[in-house]
Amino acid sequence: MALFCAIGLKIPDNEALTAAATLRRLGVEVGRVERSLIGRIDSNDAAIFNPNKHALALLDADEPRAGEVWIEERDGPADRFVGWRLYRADGEPADRAMLELAAQRLLCNPAIERARFPQ
């Protein structure tokens, strides 16, 4: 049985911190950024994550959560994404406009990547 999951860091995520700082410099007024590796797992996967430093969330659907944009390589492995979850300064998930701006200005290089937004 294959499930979609998001694996993120429990410990401070320097990459997410750098993304947040750079997005703010680029005029995207995020409050907080979370980063996850998104992908399908099945019962044959022997080692998925390290619970000492990773948090795993099983996803209800194979699409981004509220405030999240998934970035996939155009010629990379199927069903593998980097998920960037953006929150506004008031703590609410970013809306579509903010996600699109963040993807356009930093998170997605359209030459080699595609962005998937929540429905």
Binding site: E15, E73, L106, L107
Partner: protein
């Protein structure tokens, strides 16, 4: 007064010393410029972005340094015709900054040097062959047609990739300055990483910004070669020719 070259150091840059060394060896007046002294960059006449892992390749190789404040000066300088050279990670930064191939606006990448086809790091000796008319750019003006330059490919993300229309524009626009080649100058089977069009280096339309993935500075002295045990190991070797052309262009003004 000689033109001055700034060799930029971003957090995570690691190839600045050998780059500085060969630039000085060929007669360029070159300085290291640390990211904390980026405000001095406008004083320089040319910029070199060396190899390494600037900002740990966070998000994508070159993505974060492309928005570093030092790049504000590099982009401005490039628009004024200053020579800008990027090597390996430096080349990735120039692509993320949109300076090469330069077919789109600034800071909007239209191509990338991305994951090798093998999906892992490679380190091997290569040659790159000049594919443009040498007069197309000050970087190449001193070279012969079809000049062959030795270098070391040391990267996990060196494959040129873009959508088909952009690759066609890159090819037709004369943006591919060097392709991978064998030691005899042939190109069959020479590309080590699956790079589109065999591309090893990209040039902008104006000819003043060059992004090269392999490291010619790592074949700049005989001590870079395990086979060269005879003679003066400190003497310049083949890769020095690449920088000699750069220095000649700078000093010619």
């Amino acid at each position: 007064m000689s033109a001055r070259v700034a060799v930029l150091i971003f957090p995570g840059t690691n190839s600045e010393e050998e780059t500085l060394r060969i630039l000085r060896d060929v007669g360029a007046q070159a300085d290291l410029v640390h990211w904390s002294r980026g405000d001095t960059l406008p004083q320089y006449d040319a910029y070199v972005l060396p190899g390494g892992f600037a900002y740990e390749d966070r998000i994508r190789a070159g993505a974060i340094p492309a928005h570093d404040r030092m790049m504000d000066h590099v982009i401005d300088g490039a628009s004024r015709g200053k020579l800008v050279l990027g090597i390996c990670n430096g080349a990735q930064i120039l692509l993320e900054a949109g300076l090469v191939p330069g077919t789109g606006p600034a800071r909007k990448p239209t191509a990338a040097f991305t994951h090798n086809v093998q999906r892992h790091f490679i380190c091997r000796h290569v040659h790159v062959k000049l594919t443009i008319d040498p007069s197309r750019s000050p970087f190449t003006a001193a070279h012969a047609h079809d000049a062959l330059i030795p270098a070391w490919a040391a990267h996990g993300q060196g494959r040129l990739a873009a959508d088909p229309a952009e690759l066609e524009a890159i090819a037709k626009g004369g943006h591919i300055a060097f392709v991978y080649a064998n030691a005899d100058g042939s190109t069959q089977g020479a590309t080590p990483n699956g790079s589109a069009l065999g591309c090893a280096a990209l040039l902008n339309r104006e000819g003043n910004v060059l992004a090269i993935m392999p490291h010619p500075e790592r074949d700049a002295h005989n001590f870079n070669h395990p086979q060269r045990r005879q003679g003066n190991i400190l003497a310049p070797s083949g890769g020095a020719a690449f920088f000699r052309g750069f220095a000649d262009a700078l000093n010619a003004g």
